[in-house]
Symmetry: C2
Subunit: 338 residues, 2 copies
């Protein structure tokens, strides 16, 4: 089934069930008002939502209305956890190669992960508000899962059973704040402003065959200012699957229902063409494009985002049907918003 959260002026919005083709929606009132409620009591509430979903998909829901992604908040407008991995090691390899630094061997067995802020997510079509263009605004196209309860010390296989929903994310990054922040030794903080999520969160079964081994085997599209810059395969190059990422958190603590766990920037390995390196799939964040330029030309030539820039992130199934709806945002200055 597919779920979304409609804006209604409240902090948590209103839960709606969305049809498979994203054409219609139906309020889940009577079953649950908020998505967190469903995650808290999944076994009881999810089957009721599944029933409504089936009615909606067969065109028989009595109060269905046209689905508008612009009306959506993030599926969880605020969450109790947002833990973002860096599961595509190729991304790390590229960024490090650009600064002539090796990838430690442990990075291939021990996931990189940071704890993100989760009190104020932004909707899929909401502006990315930033105080200063000079912060080096970048998008990061990712896949994320929303979990149920997973106990401390769960194995990757057990943890994978805890996946309830899949979403897309734009993990906005402020690149020029990162070097100073990482040098302080405590990890990302100011360099990671509010994250945006896709209009719709879907159960893994909606992915069919494409959901395999805790990975989504489909193409993640990133379109920057109307130009398609990334057509990245999310499956094969994902070094750690979502069960491994969740289990990484579980090493020393429980993971509770409604936790969102991200994949990090989706990234594909380069290929050798006539003795020259090439990255035909493009990129899911500008930092990676700049790393490629640095490797090839000695310095980056692509600049980060400017106020007014747009970014669209979407994933389609084999038939070209959008699965999650599109993240479709504009970069806006704080003054402009106010």
């Amino acid at each position: 089934m597919k779920l979304a959260t409609y804006k209604d002026g409240s902090r948590d919005g209103q839960l709606v069930v969305v049809s498979r083709d994203l054409s219609t929606a139906h309020y889940a009132t009577g079953i649950a008002g908020k998505l967190q409620q469903v995650l808290d009591d999944w076994n009881f509430l999810a089957p009721q939502l599944e029933d409504l979903s089936q009615t909606l998909n067969t065109g028989k829901a009595r109060h269905a209305f046209a689905f508008e992604p612009q009306m959506c908040m993030a599926p969880l407008p605020r969450a109790y956890q947002w833990a973002d991995g860096s599961a595509y090691i190729n991304h790390v390899e590229l960024v490090r190669a650009a600064r002539h630094s090796d990838v430690p061997q442990t990075f291939y067995t021990d996931p990189l992960m940071y704890q993100g802020g989760s009190d104020d997510f932004i909707g899929p079509c909401d502006p990315v508000v930033c105080a200063d263009e000079a912060y080096g605004i970048d998008f990061e196209a990712e896949i994320a899962v929303i979990t149920g309860d997973v106990p401390m010390c769960a194995s990757p296989e057990e943890a994978l059973e805890g996946v309830r929903l899949v979403v897309l994310a734009n993990d906005v990054s402020l690149r020029h704040l990162i070097p100073h922040e990482l040098a302080k030794g405590f990890g990302f903080f100011q360099s990671k402003p509010a994250t945006a999520f896709s209009p719709v969160a879907i159960t893994p079964d909606e992915l069919g065959e494409a959901w395999q081994g805790g990975r989504v085997h489909l193409t993640l599209q990133s379109t920057w200012n109307g130009r398609k810059v990334g057509m990245c395969e999310a499956g094969p190059d994902m070094t750690f699957h979502f069960g491994q990422l969740i289990a990484h958190i579980c090493k020393t603590r429980n993971v509770r229902a409604g936790s969102i766990v991200g994949s990090g920037t989706v990234s594909n390995r380069g290929v050798e063409v006539d003795g020259k390196k090439d990255w035909p799939k493009g990129y899911s964040c500008i930092a990676e494009k700049r790393a490629i330029e640095t490797i090839l030309d000695g310095k980056p030539s692509t600049e980060f985002m400017k106020f007014g820039d747009t970014i669209r992130i979407e994933m389609k199934d084999k038939n070209g049907q959008s699965l999650f709806g599109a993240i479709d945002q504009q970069i806006v200055s704080l003054d402009e918003q106010a």
Copy 2:
């Protein structure tokens, strides 16, 4: 007023108002069931709770009952944000001096802060469950505030206005996991398991004169295995006040209601006695004791916590009245708990 959350088998517990002397409590049913609800709608709900609090304090509440800290969850059993600063630079100086590393000058103007997990806090008298003693289990006695909404780019003064409640925290740390984790460059993650909070959250006015300039000018007591190891002054050595810590988060994003912002380990400067350095106030975490030992003797001699160890963290007012109730926990192995 003083607020607590009673265990009732649910994820968020039941909100209770607690009397100033911590002797009695009263369910807030009819006003609000959960603390997050109050933070979401503070201006409307807080005055109603204040009324109940006054009735309770004058002994006139009709359904008052004896307050039991053991019945408490964390005031917010789960939260949308837990951002922990390291506001007592003396702590950083000690730890760095022990490893012969200087404190960068920017640390005195730009707060250190990490994003903590907030989906699964533990109650003040709940066990600290850990899979392995070899992780180097340490307590960290801290003060924290719970905020209302504070907008992006708020000044420290504006941010300070956003403080709604004050609590104590035990920011449990797994010291032997930290070096490897920080070396990865993404900050703390597995080294910071679930945090515990005091039984009671109090409004700043309950601190009277002791709440000054965004700091709590009282003594934080830490008692390890029944031995008082820390009597640390929380006021004078706090390099960054809570308004500055909240404003640090606000540089690139909004801070939303129910965010918890911590001070980091409360720590006092050493003094010179007969040409010899001494730290008469003791320590609020074992890592600091070990740093002092390393500075004085070349190596640490105090070991981290073992299964069965206890830690009690408390703060009293000038009359010896406990303000928040005590965090009083035992370290327990995962097997033992299961």
